[in-house]
């Protein structure tokens, strides 16, 4: 008996399959592109193929992410807030605060030792502090998004970007290049800009981080510059799981398993 979690985000669609012991059997990450239903099918097919499973082997499927209601055959749709909390707790059990920076959302989530969310905050209707922001900046710098993650090495960190808005920041980056600013300094400034936005969100729900081990998930967790900048601004160590982009899908698979096995019942109705 296997359990499947699908996290359909704006940039990637992630699938995780777990077994009855909650062990990860397979995972797949594919770009979402313009048609998220196609991405869901592809991501699921890739993971199923890797695991050597067929649909009948799957006891329950839980979807999460912004496209969670577009996943066919789901047992339930659960928000990425709950799923990320569950997923990271499975991978890094000490964690009590998760920073997730995905394509269009960034969020901070505080939870207890069972993965029950105690508080959360999310970015508002603005791409500042998200993967989209970094994508736009990589485009302005004419570098690959993977390459961008390394480019701040050796920077003195003296350059500050004044624009929070993604569109204006892109113009600012273009102006800085034209003015001869070093790329590593620009990238360090961008990283601080993202970190600054996210640290406000974290502090809003957790003013004191001294007793809250922090981890990070989402594709931006691969960007060591942003992680370093966040660590500096929050003055904490941030743990990163081996595959930070599958945390939401893993959480969804864990929820699927719990519900299928009759665990983790919701609180009774109030009447």
């Amino acid at each position: 008996m296997y359990f499947l979690g699908i996290d359909i985000g704006s940039l990637s669609c992630d699938t995780v399959i777990i077994d009855q012991t909650s062990g990860i059997v397979a995972s797949a990450v594919v770009p979402t592109g313009a048609r998220n239903v196609k991405a869901i099918e592809r991501s699921k097919a890739d993971a199923m193929s890797l695991a050597g499973l067929i649909d009948e082997d799957i006891a329950a499927l839980v979807s999460t992410g912004y496209g969670r209601r577009r996943v066919a055959g789901r047992s339930a749709a659960v928000t990425e807030i709950s799923c990320h909390a569950r997923g990271i707790l499975h991978l890094l059990p000490e964690t009590r605060l998760l920073i997730d920076i995905g394509g269009q959302d960034s969020k901070a989530i505080v939870f207890d030792g069972e993965g029950n969310v105690a508080n959360f905050s999310m970015n508002d209707k603005c791409a500042a502090g998200t993967g989209r922001f970094l994508e736009a900046m990589a485009r302005a710098l004419e570098v690959d998004i993977i390459e961008l993650a390394q480019l701040d090495r050796g920077a003195r960190g003296e350059l500050t970007l004044s624009s929070m808005c993604t569109v204006f920041a892109e113009s600012e980056v273009v102006s800085l290049i034209a003015d001869g600013a070093e790329v590593k300094e620009i990238v360090a400034g961008l990283n601080r800009s993202v970190a600054n936005r996210v640290q406000s969100m974290v502090k809003r729900i957790a003013p004191d981080l001294s007793c809250l081990p922090v981890a990070m998930s989402g594709g931006v967790a691969y960007n060591e510059g942003v992680v370093r900048s966040l660590q500096t601004q929050l003055d904490v160590e941030i743990a990163i799981p081996e595959k930070p982009d599958i945390v939401g899908a893993l959480g969804a698979a864990l929820v699927a398993r719990e519900r299928a096995l009759g665990q983790g019942e919701k609180r009774r109705p109030t009447e």
Binding site: Y66, V78, T79, E80, I81, S82, D105, N116, V117, A118, N119, F120, M122, D124, K125, K266, R267, P269, T270, E271
Partner: protein, 409 residues
């Protein structure tokens, strides 16, 4: 606007006459469409006002009175607010300002607000409301009467406001020739008191577990009902809600829409345009808005023989007036009375009342175990409505509440 209100009245009357069509919310909508018609038909003397103006007193003087934000809400709910917001921006109002007032400014500039006989601004609840009234007075070439509502309920403060109310009456008489008949005012206040007594019964019933009130049934009720105070319709309308709620409780409880799993308090004002989220909360997640912050009677019955003092106390007692501690203690009282699991603050974009103290309100409710979800919504301008993000936040909030034990267990 007149045609819009007339069409709404015709449609609602037809629905109310149909079998099973007589619902409290339709009766409510009908009464406020009728109020809208009276404001716009040119046959009634009109007073445009601030939110806490003494509407029953103005009714007793023969005015159809209304707070101007009603216009912003009506334009938003009828889906035509964009034109008026655009006009306000063209006239120089910044888009970061509260859209209730931007809509009013746009409506006035486009000739969609009748020129009133009287303009009565109130310092409570907000400065944007005062500025809007000042602009209307300039545009419509009318004198502005201003009531400064003191922040605390001391005998001196009440006297100070009573003096202003007396001056207001004198000023209105000088401006319009309309006099206040003390006997008529006493009868009006008696009707206000009777309406408020029935409203208290409605709120008592709504607090029942499970609540007989559906999430949208008492939307805007507490802020809008004072517009009818002193008129028989206020009593009749409150009775319709009371009888419906009592009937639902007698027949097994619940609001007939959903099985209540989570009880919510809605802070400040609702989203005025059509949106799917409150319905989603209720029907998909069983999360019911059982009380709104302004569905709260915060004053004692008013002595009909000495009405101005009671009216002054009522104005001062508004939850948005005075120190934030007072507002927080009122929110805590509501949370306890209705035994809510959580609260939602839309933090209306551009509104200092909604957003300025959100952290303090969140902390105050957290002290009694009630989590608050702060959204960032423009409650009037649908163009910046990020449905997907808001849906995720609301769903996650309900998931979080369901995983917690009730603050009242």
């Amino acid at each position: 606007m007149l045609q819009q209100f007339e069409r709404t009245i015709d449609a609602l009357e037809a629905k109310l006459a149909a079998p099973q069509g007589n619902t409290p919310r339709r009766r409510y909508a009908l009464e406020f469409a009728r109020l809208g018609k009276r404001l716009y038909d040119g046959r009634h003397p009109v007073a445009w006002c601030g939110v806490v103006a003494p509407f029953d007193l103005l009714n007793a003087m023969g005015f159809t009175s209304c707070f101007v934000e009603f216009v912003g809400a009506s334009l938003a709910s009828s889906g035509v607010v964009d034109t008026f917001l655009d006009r306000a921006e063209q006239d120089g109002l910044v888009p970061d300002m509260c859209a209730y007032h931007r809509a009013v400014a746009g409506a006035a500039a486009l000739g969609m607000m009748p020129v009133p006989q009287v303009l009565v601004a109130t310092s409570c609840p907000c400065f944007a409301g005062q500025a809007t009234m000042e602009n209307l007075a300039r545009l419509m070439e009318r004198e502005l009467i201003f009531l400064h509502v003191p922040l605390e309920q001391t005998p001196e403060a009440v006297r100070y406001l009573v003096d202003q109310l007396e001056s207001m009456i004198t000023q209105i008489t000088a401006l319009t020739g309309r006099r206040l008949d003390p006997d008529k005012l006493a009868r009006t206040i008696e009707r206000s008191n009777r309406a408020v007594a029935v409203i208290e019964e409605v709120f008592e019933l709504a607090a029942h577990i499970p609540s007989p009130s559906a999430s949208r049934e008492l939307k805007d009720f507490g802020i809008a009902m004072p517009l009818l105070f002193g008129r028989p319709e206020a009593i009749e309308l409150a009775q319709v809600f009371r009888d419906a709620f009592a009937g639902r409780i007698r027949s097994g409880g619940g609001n007939g829409v959903t099985k209540e799993r989570v009880r919510l308090l809605w802070i400040q004002n609702r989203i005025q345009f059509r949106e799917p989220l409150v319905k989603m909360l209720e029907q998909e997640l069983g999360a019911v808005v059982v009380v709104d912050e302004l569905n709260h009677v915060t004053w004692d019955p008013i002595d009909p023989q000495n009405p101005l003092e009671g009216i002054a106390r009522r104005m001062i007692s508004n939850p948005f007036n005075g120190p934030i501690e007072s507002r927080i203690s009122k929110l805590q009282a509501l949370a306890r009375r209705y035994r809510v699991d959580g609260a939602i603050n839309p933090c209306n974009w551009g509104c200092r009342q909604g957003a300025g103290a959100r952290g303090l309100m969140q902390t105050g409710l957290a002290e009694i175990g009630v989590p608050v979800l702060n959204l960032e919504v423009d409650c009037v301008d649908p163009r910046s409505f990020a449905e997907g993000q808001l849906r995720t936040r609301l769903e996650a909030f309900v998931e979080m509440l369901e995983a917690k034990s009730s603050p009242w267990s």
